[in-house]
Symmetry: C2
Subunit: 494 residues, 2 copies
């Protein structure tokens, strides 16, 4: 019989894949996810027949009224073979509601958490799941349609360590090279009766459309399209691995420090990399800082890459996901808004102190910063300089509005400020500083310039609306902060 031959070939093939691609040891326990659907049933039966010590794991998602019947069928199937079944149930609908997740995302989350918990409990060498070659093609097409880069187009792999679940127990997919037709042939030959596959939830609308409409349509262009896409993904996995290793090496040579919420690069090393490498380094930095961020969009990476090649035209840009990039001395920093950076090179005034600033005159602040005030007698020149100014540590105020000496101090409770452009009313300074994305460590000691009781300038950010240069202004004060670069030994060098 031809069918017998197929079954034999299939088992031979799976034995090879389990060994070579999944790298499993036939003498050690595996935990197999068994929904009872065709894929997992085929997978479970084949691995069992190949002699692996096996534990079945079934999770009732309580998404369909007949789910308990699936659980019963699985129980019977496993029981008949005198094997161990780990079973549990979770109300995925409720879990999705309380966690603000989609049903698919919630189902995925609770399922993998359950599987890895059980694998740990039974000391299994791997969690084995039944994704097929068709699932692979659908996954690749989904990523393509959503606009993935290379790593999306690689799809799923035979063996991986999904970091959110386990660092030590791999997730393996032995059926990744087996087509749906082959699974059905296997089941029919072995006279195995699957339950309706719980993974085919009606809610997986996008994937189902790809399976039922898009792939058949693509077959009219190339009858072998599934195979071609599968092969493309497989080849790209190899390419992606090479790139990852190349990025490892470049990261090693380019990055300066990495800490909670920040990464910095040596700008000189970074700028000599190929554009493609710069993108990948930036992408890796973003992934490190925002592990939840799945898809870092094209524009974000392009803006970041452009910036890092010409940081001097602008001191800082926002990326997406609450991250920003800025340039300082010979370092490029990628940081979360909320992060306390180790640079320590912002200007500060000791808490509780208020320092007089004469005009002309200057003050020494911490970290090598100098605060200067100069009268600007040539008012038309002052106007044109103020208009063209791109340095946030420089400002021109109306001389006649000010009370001397000016005062430099840190913030006090109750401080208010009326930023340039906001007429008539002021805002709480504390809110303002948060909006300005100042690290919290910097906020309390950030230098503020006061005239009498009014804050007239927040160096690095905003000047106060009433003190701006106006049409009637006849003379001005030029204010600026500079810093002499000093390596303070903390964070700046590697």
């Amino acid at each position: 019989l031809d069918l017998g031959y197929n079954l034999f070939v299939m088992l031979q093939y799976l034995a090879l894949i389990l060994h070579q691609e999944c790298r499993l040891d036939p003498s050690k326990t595996v935990l197999v996810a068994l929904s009872g659907g065709p894929d997992s049933l085929c997978l479970f039966d084949a691995i069992w027949r190949l002699g692996y010590p096996i534990i079945a794991a079934h999770l009732n998602h309580r998404l369909r009224p007949e789910a308990w019947r699936d659980a019963q069928a699985v129980k019977q199937f496993v029981g008949e073979r005198n094997l161990t079944l780990a079973m549990s149930e979770v109300d995925v609908g409720e879990f999705a509601d309380t966690h603000g997740l989609s049903i698919e995302e919630a189902a995925r989350l609770v399922r993998y958490r359950f599987l890895f918990e059980q694998a740990e409990h039974f000391n299994a060498q791997a969690v084995v799941v039944g994704h097929t070659a068709d699932d692979q093609v659908e996954t690749v097409l989904m990523h393509l349609l959503r606009g993935a880069g290379l790593s999306g187009l690689t799809g799923m792999t035979f063996r991986s360590f999904p970091t959110s679940w386990s660092q030590t127990i791999p997730l393996v997919r032995p059926l990744l090279g087996v087509w749906r037709e082959e699974i059905h042939a296997y089941l029919s030959e072995r006279s195995l009766q699957p339950v309706q596959d719980a993974s085919n939830l009606d809610t997986q609308y996008f994937r189902n459309r790809i399976r039922q409409e898009l792939i058949p349509a693509l077959k009219t262009y190339n009858p072998q399209i599934r195979q071609r896409i599968w092969q493309t993904a497989y080849t790209l996995q190899g390419d992606n691995e090479l790139l990852d290793r190349a990025v490892d090496a470049a990261w090693e040579s380019c990055h300066a420090v990495a800490g909670p919420g920040y990464v910095s690069f040596k700008i000189g090393e970074l700028q000599v990399q190929y554009r493609g490498m710069q993108r990948r380094l930036l992408r890796r930095a973003v992934s490190l800082l925002r592990t939840g961020l799945h898809d870092i969009d094209f524009d974000t990476i392009e803006r970041g890459t452009k910036f890092l090649n010409k940081p001097k035209y602008s001191s800082q840009i926002d990326l997406s996901g609450g991250l920003y990039v800025f340039y300082e001395e010979d370092r490029l920093w990628v940081a979360a808004w909320e992060a306390d950076l180790p640079t320590g090179i912002w200007p500060s005034v000791e808490q509780g102190k208020a320092l007089d600033l004469q005009v002309p005159g200057s003050l020494n602040l911490s970290g090598g910063w100098q605060f200067y005030a100069q009268p600007a007698y040539d008012i038309s020149q002052a106007f044109s300089q103020a208009m063209g100014n791109r340095d946030p540590y420089q400002a021109w105020l109306d001389f006649n509005d000010l009370q001397f000496p000016l005062i430099v101090r840190g913030r006090l409770p109750g401080d208010r400020f009326q930023p340039l452009g906001m007429r008539g009313h002021s805002t709480k300074l504390s809110d303002m500083l948060i909006n300005l994305k100042l690290p919290s460590r910097a906020r309390s000691t950030w230098p503020l310039l006061l005239s009498g009781m009014d804050i007239v300038w927040i160096p690095g950010f905003r000047l106060a609306h009433p003190y701006r240069l106006k049409e009637k202004t006849r003379s001005a004060v030029h204010l600026y902060l500079t810093r002499e670069y000093k390596d303070d030994g903390e964070g700046i060098s590697k």
Copy 2:
């Protein structure tokens, strides 16, 4: 007006692209392909307005009766602006027929030949063509459908050197980031009237289906699909460049010799590379040896990669395209069937000589080869060894069929041979040697074993049918060649 602003933005954008991506010098002449269709008309007009010295080039493909009218329209358009037009015509249909090409392939060939000839003639800094962002998306989808690896998915680039046309004049595509709608807006605002685009040949059936059916269908999955695919290709270009540089480095460390029709690798270096790198090295070797081969298929590369990791299980495998891979000492060779390899390590007998081989006995051949003959008294052992034999330099013949001494000589005119499995008649030895893919240099001195007037064995290939072990065989002769490895200084070391 909004439109005026768009035109300005478009020209600004193209000025930037011409400079940054196409790397053109605005003071030097460019040769622009001008079919008269929308894309080329927009391209030509924009580059002209940006002040580049410009030559128009138009080729009449004589594929449509109205082609001469397009040529007239182009002539008038260029003439009105007092610019130079290079014009020619080719009967592409006839060219396709005589060269056995498809119409599209023939049109492409004659068009680019014409453009680069003219660019050289006018000393132009580049050939400029009008491929748009839509063309890019279509190209990527075509490659995906056909099953491309990474390099296919990168699509076209802003600037390239299509090696078959010119090593010095680049081909640039400034409109690669411009969508068809933007081209039409440009034309309508500038009141330019395109001719029907000759590139939209009815024969481009596959591309037209992608444009008119597939892309609209994909838009129902993601309205931004064109942009996503474009961005994916752009990102993959950067990744592909990184990989190419990594392959350069690995090639440098792995390859031993390369010559006409062959490449050899140091097997030790090759085997420690990542699988993805091994694939790329093999792919590069194949491209070097078969420059015409566009798509090296997945299976070929997979078979080659598997072989190179376990060459000892089999001495030689065929790749596609008339190439084969074999393993010898510490080298892996990729070679064309017809190539004369520099190894010089095949066994040979001086022309005109005939050497006696006693049983038991041995002969010294050139290159360190030894030819042994031994009686095999244990006939059942001889049978089982002969059945399991995988070494082509080893054979067992029926003792009683042979005349002694056996003779070893090179081939003579008129030699015939009856290979194993071919009953009743013999074939010309010369044809046989060609079919066996022996390098021509090796053919004339390849050792043949004779019993009386009959060639009974071609070592490394076949034994003669009448002399095989048969049911009635009572004793056998065991024949084998071995070689002691000697570095002959030619080709073996780098």
